[in-house]
């Protein structure tokens, strides 16, 4: 199964699931499109690196980021984000750090070609979701806050899961 087929399957699944959410009034069609774009872009990067790892035996360092992002709230040293604004702030700071790290990788020539392009696309998608998340936080829209939070974290979690699976096979 190549990347385009994989992406198509994901899009179909998201369309079906998203259709239910739209019908139930949880999200609009535009929001579904944004969220689906973010997930597909991130999974696209995951798929790209996954296929390379199988052949080249390189460590997909970019996959480590989600582990750190997801584990952050469990670190006792740091203040745990509690309110919706704090949780959003935590995501923003980690996202900025992630992008800075990716930029550093690109600077050092370790992220280039298709990987750079796919990663940039994923970053744009998550960035757009974070904008929506911020608006939802300011409007105190709990349903949308949760939706965008899960979109970002879910996409990162999927990447982390694939990375773990790859490591276990090796």
């Amino acid at each position: 199964m190549d990347k385009s087929v994989f992406g198509g399957l994901v899009r179909h699944v998201l369309t079906i699931l998203g259709g239910g959410l739209i019908s139930a009034g949880y999200i609009t069609a535009e929001e579904l499109s944004t969220a689906a774009g973010a997930i597909i872009a991130l999974l696209g990067v995951a798929w790209s690196v996954f296929t390379k790892v199988k052949g080249a035996k390189q460590l997909p360092a970019v996959f480590i980021v989600p582990v750190l992002c997801l584990g952050l709230s469990g670190c006792g040293h740091f203040e745990k984000p509690v309110t919706p604004k704090q949780k959003y702030a935590a995501a923003e700071t980690q996202f900025a750090a992630l992008v800075g790290y990716l930029d550093d990788l690109a600077e050092r020539g370790k992220l280039k070609g298709d990987d750079l392009f796919n990663t940039q696309s994923a970053v744009v998608a998550v960035n757009n979701t974070l904008k929506l998340w911020k608006t939802a936080v300011q409007e105190n829209d709990e349903a949308k806050i949760e939706q965008y939070r899960l979109t970002v974290i879910g996409a990162l979690a999927d990447m982390e899961r694939i990375y773990t699976e790859v490591k276990q096979r090796k």
Binding site: A90, T93, A97, Y101
Partner: protein
């Protein structure tokens, strides 16, 4: 060699994530000490920082 590089990358990444967590913690501590939640201005500042990082990365 790959393992050494991987550990180096992990440390780089850990450093970035830790700095970000420190920044977030400082914001939350400041707000808590003033008995308030984060302000819209503080959120806007974080968004601006992220956007600047994104713009720089996309210029590659």
């Amino acid at each position: 060699m790959n393992t050494v590089l991987a550990v180096t990358e992990l440390l780089n990444l850990l450093g970035a994530a830790t700095a970000a967590a420190d920044k977030m913690s400082a914001l939350i501590r400041k707000a808590n000490s003033e008995n308030r939640d984060l302000t819209d201005e503080e959120l806007a500042s974080l968004r601006s920082d992220s956007q600047a990082a994104v713009d720089k990365f996309l210029s590659r």
